[in-house]
Amino acid sequence: MSDPTTAPAPPLLVARGLTRTFALPRRSPFQPGPVRHALVDADLEVAAGESVALIGESGSGKSTLVRLLLALDRATSGTVTFDGRPVAPDRASRLRWLRRQTGIVLQDPYSSLDPRMRVGDTIAEPLRALGVDGDHRRMTAEMLERVGLSAGDAEAWPHEFSGGQRQRIALARALVHGPRLLIGDEPMSALDVTVRAQILDLLRELRDDLGLSLLLVSHDIGLVQHLADRVAVLREGRIVEQGPTDDVLRRPQHPYTRSLVDSVPTLD
């Protein structure tokens, strides 16, 4: 009955009722200590090939959510599945399947690359760590070219590159092992505006060519508008609104989303 052209892609990543609380120092030895709710009852889905953005300000719970989705932290309650398999912290060897399916790019390309490792070794590291078969040198060289650098750059050191080039290297490292989901944690916020435009184009191109799902964590509404299919808005640990990007950003239902959108400086 279902029409294959309109049927939604099966969800790749599913979070249900995710909650994470942190115990704060007790104020009195006779009473339970206060608790901070970093994340409360969050539901999130990322379909295969879909780009989803998590927006919210500092302290809204974005990073807590990402850590739970990647099994870097244990939820107080709730579940995460990736491709139907449960995701929870475990020994590294038991999480290898998840690491092979995911890649991450962080905010600052100056601190995310090891200054004492050649670019090629940095990019190839996930291949070794995850026991990926094949010719690592060739895979590294191909990845370098894919992100707009040259195969010869494998021999160079991180300090020889500009911020934008370093973010390309970080992308190559995040994608070299062929993950299906790329997570970007504020991947552009340290870059100059013309470089941002270039990295945005590259992200789009890689996503489309490799059929990646994208989970973008950002407070940059502009970037989200230009990259994401759907948006979830986090505030004080709760997802206050989620839906297609245009609906949420242009016709926000929650007052917080409206204030967020209204604050963004525009050229018009």
Partner: protein, 259 residues
């Protein structure tokens, strides 16, 4: 207070990081200086403050209300900084001293430039904290920077810069490290204070959208030179130089479009 920079060249280790820059901030005007990393923006502000790194050589002229700053003795420049020229930097986390209560930091420019008792300095700090919209000023002045949010720390930075009612404020990417809603509030605060105090403002940024909110005129900087200048409206909508056009296009491709 007017600032006139004429043919400023700054050379560091044989490299010209500022190369014949001329720029004018008329009395009471809000002027933007825009450019990407390495364009010479920050070196220009440091030159105005007489805080260029050791070994840097500066030629040309920087006049504040007609008074030449370039080559002026350090004693004179130190007297201007924080009294006549206020400065707000990008990262309020690194610009503040972590082990000194924020109230004492807000009042520091007062204590540096005038004989003021500790009690009077505190009163001034509380008033300045209230003026920049810090909550519960009587209490907040006794807190340390880590006890404040990023937006509050930047308000402390602004309070410090404005406490002596300077004639000129230099702001170097003062909202870049802030969340969007905080950024909007801090920009609005800046605008209000500058208007009320009729301070001249030189606002340095790489963000055209932020510039459009705060400045009337701007100069576009690339490789240490001004490549284009004019009203902000004109730069945004009818950019002439390739660098300006590139900045505008890249901004349009990456920033929020409401319609």
């Amino acid at each position: 207070m007017s600032l006139v920079i004429d043919d400023l060249t700054v050379t560091i280790a044989g490299r010209r990081v500022v190369d014949g820059l001329s720029l004018e901030v008329p009395d009471g005007a809000r002027v933007g200086l825009i450019g990407e990393s390495g364009s010479g923006k920050s070196m220009t502000t440091l030159a105005v403050l007489g805080l260029l790194p050791d070994g840097a050589q500066a030629t040309g002229s920087i006049r504040l209300d007609g008074h030449e700053l370039l080559g002026a003795p350090e004693r004179e420049l130190a007297d201007l900084r924080g009294r006549v020229v206020g400065t707000v930097f990008q990262d309020p986390r690194t610009a503040l001293d972590p082990v000194v209560p924020v109230g004492r930091q807000i009042a520091e420019p007062v204590r540096l430039h005038a004989r003021v008792s500790r009690r009077d300095a505190r009163v001034r700090a509380v008033a300045a904290a209230a003026e920049v919209g810090l909550p519960d000023p009587e209490t907040i002045v006794d807190l340390y920077p880590h006890q404040l949010s990023g937006g509050q720390r930047q308000r402390v930075g602004i309070a410090m810069a404005l406490i002596n009612r300077p004639g000129l404020v230099l702001a170097d990417e003062p909202t870049t490290a802030l969340d969007v809603t905080t950024q909007a509030e801090v920009l609005a605060l800046f605008q209000r204070l500058v208007d009320e105090q009729r301070t001249s403002l030189l606002f340095v940024t790489h963000d055209l959208a932020v510039l459009a909110r705060i400045a009337d005129h701007a100069a576009v900087l690339a490789h240490g030179r001004v490549v284009e200048r004019g009203p902000v409206e004109q730069l945004l909508h009818r950019p002439e130089h390739a660098v300006t056009r590139g900045l505008v296009e890249a901004t349009r491709a990456t920033t929020w479009r409401a319609s």
